[in-house]
């Protein structure tokens, strides 16, 4: 399906300028933008992948990863066939960077499906949901009508105006902070660090539940300095934002070995100096996947793989010291 896009300018020569993200792609008639799913048809910009999803599956919310938003729940997950970055280590490159078969899921269908089989809503994930802007707006409203939550898992690269338009529909977000170097963002990933930082700040300020993930990639960002800078930035926004450090595995154009487990544990300790909740992902270490009360150390949520048990929280407070958890359980 396709739908006329929002946020673009018509240029004199029949081209259009997409204003959704920092790329501001100028797209000639018949061509697509960087993300591969927004294209120029006869001088107008269209969302070509509108309502076309590469996957429909019921995931644990911890898989997003979101650890402090309805822990232990399941959420229906869908994804567009495109992305506005080109990370050489993309863990989902087959659906983000090349053409994949899709199925149509209209916003109305998405709304109805969102609350079935125990799902708490819809998670727009796997690839880059913001390039699906028009569908996000429409499906997001339908999900809300059905009493569901909208969750996005995104690289955070979007311009301020579209972000402000979509943000009120989002309940929770996991934003990737792939590196704290603007240069690496630009040169290696084709991205923009400022956009990402702005997105994290904006969502947090506007009452969206935010968690941040860094995929620690061997030879790309596996330095204590980078992790420290990222953790410091996150703590400047709010030191209770959960920060996930995920282990990378070779994929797409990268064949460096998987992230050194020992290094990850050092980074964990480094990030903990600035943040109250740090977690390791793609790695079996139950202790570093659990949530503990920052004040009294009481075990709040026990995570063993995807088996999640909330043990130390009663009515939104620590069962031992009565501290507010500050998140939806």
């Amino acid at each position: 399906m396709k739908k006329k896009a929002e946020f673009y300018e018509k240029l004199d020569n029949g081209s259009v300028k997409c204003l959704l993200c920092f790329h501001n792609c100028v797209i000639a008639s018949g061509q697509k933008g960087f993300c591969g799913i927004r294209g120029n048809i006869d001088g107008d910009l269209y969302s070509l992948g509108y309502a076309e999803t590469v996957s429909v599956s019921l995931d644990p919310i911890e898989k997003k990863p979101l650890y402090h938003f309805k822990p232990g729940s399941s959420i229906l997950s869908i994804a567009p066939n495109g992305c506005n970055l080109d990370c050489p280590f993309c863990q989902n490159y087959s659906i983000s960077q090349s053409f994949s078969p899709t199925m149509t899921l209209t916003p109305e269908e998405a709304g109805k499906l969102s609350r079935q089989k125990g799902s708490i809503g819809i998670s727009y994930t796997y690839t880059e949901p913001f390039v699906w802007f028009e569908y996000l707006m429409d499906a997001g409203r339908e999900v809300r009508k059905n009493g569901g939550y909208n969750v996005i898992v995104s690289n955070g690269v979007i311009n301020p105006e579209p972000l402000a338009r979509i943000a009120p529909l989002i309940d929770a977000a996991n934003i990737d902070l792939k590196t704290f170097s603007a240069e690496k963002y630009r040169k290696v990933l084709g991205g923009d660090l400022d956009s990402v930082l702005r997105t994290i700040e904006f969502l947090k300020k506007n009452l969206v539940h935010v968690e941040v993930t860094t995929l620690v990639v061997t030879g790309f960002n596996d330095s204590a300095e980078e992790i420290k800078n990222a953790a410091r930035f996150i703590s400047s926004v709010d030191d209770e934002i959960p920060y996930h450090l995920s282990r990378y595995f070779p994929n797409y154009k990268f064949n460096a070995p998987p992230t050194d487990e020992k290094k990850l544990k050092v980074f964990y300790e480094e990030a903990r100096k600035y943040l109250k909740f740090v977690f390791l992902g793609n790695l079996y270490d139950p202790e570093k996947s659990n949530t503990y009360c920052p004040d009294c150390g009481n075990l709040w949520i026990d995570r063993n793989s995807f088996k999640v048990t909330t043990t130390g929280i009663e009515e939104g407070r620590c069962s031992k010291c009565n501290r507010e958890t500050g998140f939806l359980s």
Binding site: R144, G147, P160, A164, R165, L169, D171, L207, E315, G316
Partner: protein, 332 residues
Amino acid sequence: MKIFFLFFSFTAVLVSFSCSQKTSCLFREETTFVCMDTKISISAVGRDREILLEYIELASENFKFFDSLYGPENLFLGDIRLHPYSVYLWERSNEISELTAGAFDPSLGDVIRLWGDFSSGEICVPDSVFLDSVTRIRKSGETLIQNGHFVLFPWKTPNLGGIAKGFAIQRAAEIADSMGIYGVLVDAGGDISVKGFREDGNLWKIGVQHPRDPGTIVAVITIKDKAVCTSGDYQRFSFIEGTRYHHIIDPFTLYPSRGAISATVICDRAEDADALSTAFMILDIRECTKAAKILGAEFLVAFEKDTVIYFYASPGFSDNVSEWKIPYMEIK
């Protein structure tokens, strides 16, 4: 508009009026404390000091109870089963919302949270595109009560701050009914409920403060068994780049209201007066008149034009006024 309760010296009252034929040996007991984010004053008049003190204690407890539910943390939302007061306030709010064409909105919780804390002045102006998007989203659903608890719609989280204070003073005044008390005045930061008489046998007098000149009184109101509540842009506000941002949010724009600068409402029940005074900050005079008629309320609204303040009073407002200190216009 903060309303002054005109304090008459207790001793002076005793000398001139005590043990007169009409009001033999009446005493007054008073207390003042901070609760619900404002100053609460309770005055009670009666023959038995012990009963008065007992009443004041009960009425004070009443405020602490309301503060625990409807204070800034909105803990009533966390109730596993909503308190009957919460259900009543929510339903009454929605009735008043309907009467005021949506100007009174009890579901601005998230929006107010977005603006920050007006009490401490720590506010930030939200992004205009974001607010615009929120306005549209708010139209697509409703927050409801089902099976004794709220089913929340995003951006429509209940905040009963615009009516709970009124209900708290109403309840505090009503406690006196069964205690044989001669007169009561309950004041919560300018929202006032009165019953009976003062110790001198006269009615309670309340001064309406000028919205731009705190030392000036606009009118002296004399009422019995009624409530008077005032909303204004001169409390809980901050100036950001020369613009006044105050705590009454217009549900249509989600920005602080830009209509009246103050609205005073006299009504039988304080929760109605409280909610209407908020709505009248937003509505135009014609709409105010319409809503006030249905609820049997009288009102005084102030508008500012080129730094001049104009006061407009509903036709029956003057009946409650013992003295006007400032020129006003009566609405035809």
